[in-house]
């Protein structure tokens, strides 16, 4: 996981095991709580599209105009299961997701192959 040190900003990688042991609600609460502290998280297994929408909904409820303006979140959509994978019951997992406070993390560019973000120094925890 991440924290701001005097000599820079660190980024927290959250393992898929940690995420797997949380219920969807607990996962969203955990993410939002950490991000509100100013942490930047890289989720090894990101959020499903439905979870992302719930996170946006929860974020809107938590916005405090002078201290927390929302989140910046980047990742790629889930891979589609092939017909054979569906028959075999193989479920594709959400892909890696980067998430942080919107006043600290900014997306510069995103395309099908690469996501470029920048961390605004001088903020965060």
């Amino acid at each position: 996981m991440t924290k701001r040190e005097d000599d820079g900003i660190s980024v927290y990688l959250v393992s898929r095991q940690k995420l797997a042991e949380l219920s969807p609600d607990e996962k969203l609460k955990f993410i939002l709580k950490e991000v509100k502290k100013g942490k930047i998280l890289v989720l090894e297994h990101g959020l499903t599209a439905i979870e992302q929408a719930s996170l946006i909904e929860n974020t809107m409820r938590e916005i405090e105009q002078d201290t927390f303006i929302g989140v910046e979140m980047e990742g790629y959509g889930e891979d589609k299961s092939t017909f054979i994978q569906k028959i075999l019951g193989i479920i594709k997992k959400p892909r890696m997701t980067l998430i942080g406070p919107a006043d600290l993390l900014k997306t510069v560019k995103k395309d099908n192959h690469m996501i470029q973000t920048k961390i605004i120094t001088g903020k965060g925890s």
Binding site: E57, I63, Q65, I69, G70, N112
Partner: protein, 217 residues
């Protein structure tokens, strides 16, 4: 009691031939022209409008809807309830309204607060709609997280989606970028402002939203 009572027959025919009445949500990030498009559709098919538009983001902060809008296409038609939803965003900063658009602090804070409520309302409406007209700004990068999240949601719910690549009247628009970004969905270039290519959008809406889909919750 006959097998083909009116209700049963209508339901059977609908199942065989597709839907005739659907609730369509107009979705997208703030300031892509959702209300302009809603106004265009309503003006063309009912003579009415949906709401006011503004260059300041989050002008629509409550969902608005118009029932029973009949859109026709070459002899077939589809009755739609059109829902114009507030723009979905992952962040709302009142200082943007002050610094970029000159709103007073109180006005900016009120707008920001209402905008957050609007985002929640938009997401809630996803449960209610039968299909989505996803509006994107064809002058902007389409790979935003909001677009990805909305599309992922619609796909997870198995809702039909039609991408309206708006603002093609602008010099720097690139609807081709949207088409290549989202090849799995129909993308219709349009100018909601001038009405350019609206006929193509309407015929695609009737065809696409009439299809039967089994919604997943």
């Amino acid at each position: 009691m006959g097998l083909f009572r009116r209700g049963n027959l209508s339901s059977i025919l609908q199942r065989i031939f597709g839907k005739k009445h659907v609730k369509i949500g107009i979705y997208g990030p703030p300031n892509v022209g959702k209300t302009t498009l809603a106004n265009r559709i309503l003006r063309d098919w009912t003579g009415d409008i949906m709401g006011s538009v503004s260059e300041i983001p989050h002008e629509t902060r409550r969902a608005k809807w118009k029932k029973d809008v009949r859109v026709e296409n070459n002899g077939s038609s589809l009755l739609m309830d059109i829902v114009d939803t507030p723009g979905i965003a992952t962040k709302v900063d009142f200082k943007d309204f002050m610094n970029t658009y000159g709103l007073s602090k109180d006005e900016a804070k009120r707008r920001a607060k209402e905008a957050t409520e609007g985002v929640i309302e938009s997401i809630r409406w996803l449960e209610e709609v039968d299909g989505v007209l996803l509006v994107m700004d064809s002058t902007e990068d389409p790979f935003t997280q909001v677009n990805v999240t909305i599309l992922g949601n619609l796909e997870a719910r198995n809702l039909p989606v039609l991408v309206a690549a708006n603002k093609i009247d602008m010099e720097n628009s690139s609807p081709a970028t949207l088409k290549s970004a989202f090849p799995q969905h129909p993308v219709i270039p349009i100018s909601a402002l001038t009405g350019y290519n609206a006929d193509n959008l309407y015929s695609t809406m009737v065809k696409h939203f009439s299809k039967r889909h089994r919604k997943r919750r």
